[in-house]
């Protein structure tokens, strides 16, 4: 092999970089559960659980636009139930524990929504 030193160094750097998804995770903890505590005895949120898990950000975004830009404060869910569009009075009425609910997934997945630039984080006196 020509320039063996440089080539071997290059190959080592290449392997270290390419396997990084496998070893980077070992620097911290494992992640086996989200650890969220769903509130109360309710089985469903505004929509069903699968929808809420995947699409809650879209719902919240639509609610913001409906309430603040179109002044429409009623939302009719897929099952026909009427909801008042309000983060503070509808969502946070049940989901009152920020630390055990929102934060659990959002911090782990590094999702940083800007809800709390206007709204008050539940359970904090700000």
């Amino acid at each position: 092999m020509y320039n063996a030193k440089a080539v071997v160094a290059g190959i080592i750097i290449f392997v270290v970089l390419c396997t990084s998804p496998f070893w980077a995770g070992r620097t911290g903890q494992d992640y086996k559960k989200t650890g969220i505590v769903p509130p109360g005895d309710e089985k469903n949120c505004v929509e069903n659980v699968t929808f809420m898990r995947a699409q809650h950000m879209r719902l919240l975004n639509e609610w913001r636009d409906e309430a603040l830009r179109k002044e429409n404060r009623t939302y009719i869910a897929a099952d026909g139930k009427k909801w008042i569009i309000s983060l503070q009075n509808t969502c946070l009425k049940c989901h009152s524990n920020y630390k055990d609910f929102c934060q659990k997934c959002h911090v782990a997945n590094s999702v940083d929504p800007y809800c709390w630039t206007c709204h008050i984080i539940p359970g904090e006196n700000k």
Partner: protein, 339 residues
């Protein structure tokens, strides 16, 4: 072009059908392991193959004044005569794509008044350089951003990167520039092959296939984020299981996620055997990694066999008597007493 598109769609459809039919862990866990191993082994084989191939000639590309007399200014980066110069040139090539920056485009421009013939003009053409740079850097940033799925807790530098990437705070989930720019750059690189007739003429399946594959990867990624969403907390649990070699059940993850993973695996499997191996190949390219000092140092071809020399002294030793007989001038006269 269409066959490569069909190939990518077929891979995606197989992954979708497989995930929907209950083979999700095959596409989500077994395939990534196999693809990673083949990718790494394949690239190492490719690199050792290059490293064991001798370079017979000193063939660096020169794009400036070679080192010469002291009063002639040398282009130290474009025609490097030292290892530091080679390093600087390689670094700028890898980080800034300087050779693409020099791209020109020839066009025929009206009549030349001096020669009364058509005149050809070489204009600088920066589009390829620009979109290639956009593509590569966005791809890098997108790759780095994915480490939020590989690490717990997600490191703060990644959160910082995301806040920059989504600085416009558009929509929810926040719109990331890199994802969109990646797709735009890929579409340019594809459009270039389709609409430039000279380029279309030389484009083959293995030019279109990686482009469609990358468009597929970026497209499914963008879809997963903005349109056909899946619960990323479950996805992270699944991915952490895979990276910790203890795969968990892929229950509740949308099939589109497995299409995304499978296309990435297809890229990894394809990469060492394709032109995409230029990611390592650029460092082995003799036109880039040699010093332009062919006039100062003698370069010996490594595969030259050992030379058989026959000097004049040896020649005379062999034919001295015959040469003396023929009356030829000799450096050393034959030994009379022996004769």
């Amino acid at each position: 072009m269409f066959s490569s598109l069909l190939l990518v769609l077929l891979i995606g459809a197989v992954a979708w059908a497989g995930a929907a039919a209950g083979f999700a862990s095959l596409f989500g866990a077994a395939l990534p392991y196999a693809a990673t191993v083949i990718f790494i082994v394949g690239m190492i084989r490719r690199m050792t193959y290059w490293a064991t191939s001798p370079v017979p000639f000193c063939i660096p590309t020169t794009a400036g004044q070679e080192q010469s007399l002291a009063f002639i200014r040398q282009a130290k980066i474009d025609c490097p005569s030292s290892s530091a110069g080679v390093f600087a040139r390689m670094f700028l090539e890898v980080a800034c794509f300087r050779s693409l920056f020099r791209n020109t485009r020839a066009s025929v421009r009206g009549r030349d008044s001096a020669t009364a013939g058509l005149s050809i003009v070489y204009y600088s053409s920066k589009w390829l350089w620009f979109f290639a740079l956009v593509f590569h850097y966005c791809f890098l940033l997108v790759f780095i951003r994915h480490f939020r799925f590989f690490m717990e807790p997600a490191p703060s530098c990644i959160s910082f990167l995301e806040s920059l990437d989504g600085i416009m705070q558009t929509g929810s989930p926040r719109f990331f520039w890199t994802g969109a720019l990646l797709l735009i750059a890929l579409l340019f690189l594809l459009g270039r092959r389709i609409f430039n007739e000279r380029l279309r003429y030389i484009s083959l399946l293995n030019d279109y296939f990686p482009l469609w594959l990358l468009i597929g990867i970026a497209g499914t990624g963008v879809c997963l984020r903005y349109f056909d969403k899946t619960d990323i907390a479950t996805v992270k649990i699944f991915i952490m299981g895979v990276t910790h070699f203890a795969p968990v059940s892929p229950e509740g993850i949308a099939p589109l996620f497995f299409v995304h993973i499978t296309l990435v695996c297809a890229l990894l499997l394809y990469l060492p055997f394709s032109k995409l191996a230029h990611m390592a190949g650029v460092f082995f390219s003799p036109t880039r990694n040699l010093r332009a000092d062919s006039r100062r140092t003698r370069r010996i071809n490594p595969w030259n066999p050992p030379k058989q020399y026959f000097t004049y002294a040896e020649y005379e030793d062999a034919y001295r008597d015959a040469m003396a007989e023929a009356g030829l001038p000799l450096e050393k006269q034959p030994d009379k007493s022996a004769g």
